[in-house]
Symmetry: C2
Subunit: 354 residues, 2 copies
């Protein structure tokens, strides 16, 4: 994603210095040699130089803006690495998304990053974050993309919007950093639940037995009901984190969850739906970044505290709580009747003709 984000910046005429983390050495070598990231298979426009992690100080020397594109797990590493190198007032944007539970409150990743910067510089930084549906392989190909830049400083948000908007990269501005970060983190978790459908239905659809009798009939009803409850719970959980729930009616919620149904979290959900444990599924998907698992863990920790204090009730958020239960080893058995406020009538069959 960091590489793809260079395309609108380069198209806007910026000079870009792309620095890999200590895990990206081979990618940087390849970008230097061919100009192409092997995961994207498409060239960057001219104007970028590529740097190994050791060159961070040189790359930052004289830089007028800084983009952070590490995974959410790497945010404290990024903070440590950049700590002494960020000059006061440097415009900062994070492609990295997420929230953490810190015992009594949620913390947003942009705040965690800035926390690691020395006190003398910290107050001059106004981090901005990118949210919304954005597949890297499409962005680098300049396929139309709509995103939100959010941050508490409107002028910082405008600076980035003015720097990165292109006719194919449409940018909206938001001051609701909490809503944007929370929904970005939540969509990765709920995408796992949306993925349950194809796994749960696969055996009855004859997939395991090799029968093709039911071929072409999926579990889109199941999937869509889970998607709908996901949006409902995203709104409630965004509010819990301190954002405006209405943010989920748009790019940050519905749009971002839809795009994620084409991504790797869905595959994790499918494996869980097929009956794998989380450990087994993660082993099968080794090497794939799965941000949703961290989000599920953050809410597991948060509910423990919030339930105890009465701020949340055990009957709230049935889908997120089911994700937590599945992560802890329970089989997938989506509690549909508890969805949408739990008003569905659960009626026993009057006949045995099942």
């Amino acid at each position: 994603m960091g590489t793809a984000f260079c395309t609108p910046l380069l198209d806007r005429g910026h000079e870009v210095r792309l620095v890999g983390t200590h895990l990206d050495g081979a990618y940087i070598d390849m970008l230097r040699a061919t100009g192409i990231h092997p995961g994207l298979e498409y060239p960057l426009p001219p104007g970028a130089t590529f740097h190994q992690i050791e060159e961070v100080p040189n790359a930052l020397d004289g830089a007028q803006m800084l983009v952070i594109g590490v995974s959410s797990a790497g945010i404290s590493w990024a903070a440590r690495t950049l700590a002494g190198l960020v000059p006061p007032g440097l415009p900062l944007i994070l492609i990295t998304k997420g929230i953490e539970w810190r015992g009594t409150t949620f913390e947003l990743l942009p705040d965690l990053l800035v926390e690691g910067i020395p006190e003398t510089v910290r107050p001059t930084l106004h981090p901005v974050a990118v949210t919304g549906p954005c597949v890297a392989g499409e962005l680098i190909r300049r396929r139309e993309t709509c995103v939100i830049f959010s941050g508490r400083s409107p002028s910082a948000v405008r600076t980035w919007r003015d720097a990165a908007s292109t006719p194919y990269y449409h940018v909206w501005a938001s001051a609701d950093l909490a809503a944007c970060q929370a929904s970005a983190a939540l969509k990765n978790a709920f995408a796992v639940a949306v993925g349950f459908a194809s796994g749960v239905v696969a055996p009855s659809a004859g997939e395991k037995s090799g029968s093709s009798e039911l071929q072409g009939v999926g579990a889109h009803n199941y999937e869509s009901a889970v998607f709908a409850e996901s949006i409902v719970e995203m709104a409630q959980l965004v509010e819990l984190v301190g954002g405006a729930p209405s943010a989920v009616v748009g790019l940050a919620g519905a749009g971002d969850l839809l795009v994620t149904t084409h991504a790797r979290s869905i595959r994790l959900g499918r494996l869980l739906g097929l009956g794998r444990s989380l450990d087994e599924a993660l082993t099968e998907m080794a090497g794939v970044t799965l941000e949703g698992v961290a989000t599920i863990g953050a809410f597991a920790n948060a509910f423990r505290t919030l339930d105890a204090s009465g701020r949340t009730q055990p009957e709230d958020f049935p889908l997120m709580r089911h994700l937590i239960a599945v992560a802890n080893g329970e089989p997938v058995r989506v509690p549909f009747n508890r969805f949408f406020g739990g008003t569905s009538a659960d009626v026993a069959l009057a006949t045995g003709s099942r």
Copy 2:
């Protein structure tokens, strides 16, 4: 869908008399011979009898409930056919969804149906309607499905919920008939727009030239942005029709639009995105029921009146207005910058490296 809806009713122990329209003669013959609808390829449970249209009076004789499952275009035909046959107080549910513009106001299909029933009976009828994601082939296979039954009479809604709920067919109740009918109609229209993406991107993805260079990279950013704006406009248009906009955060909006992205409206959108005119696309899809086209037409008519009176503004609903323009022959060119309140900055590229 009418056939699939029999499954929960039969599983609840009801005797079901399934009557085809004058267009369904061959299906009824086949159901009689094999118990299987050729579009569903799955047997109904025992307990159903199958009837040609001429047998409507016999089928209704002594019936305790009535399900209407015609297409929206057939609703006045259904009203005429049933006019003299519906006894006072007969519980009535419509699988048929939609709204029409009647010059000055929107009319909901359940109301149009009841309008056709003689005055002596009309006040005793309290129609209920089904909304929410429901693919027929999945329902008949008893794959988990969540829907909303809505109607202005809470007891009528409860009657149907109690009659049709099963452990796989989860039913929520709503008194907001307008919101449920409007969003059910709107999702078919907006699904056409969601379908534009794959058509628009196909030529650049090498599909026409046969190149597979970009295989696997789609237009999910485009699609997701259109999906997100669809949910936003659905909320606003539901309100215009007289329903609560919050209904779209759930089964009726987000859930139903998601399931529809797996249906035929998407194919229509794709053809339009590829550059076909509406007539050409409809010819290619001859024989397929496309409810979305009627909804687009209803809003085209409505905006003409509502814009003139100032109740709506020409800059409102950019995606629905683009659907209307495309239906009238304009090429697909989604106005992304007018989405989400139109606050995206449209910035010219500083370089020519496109």
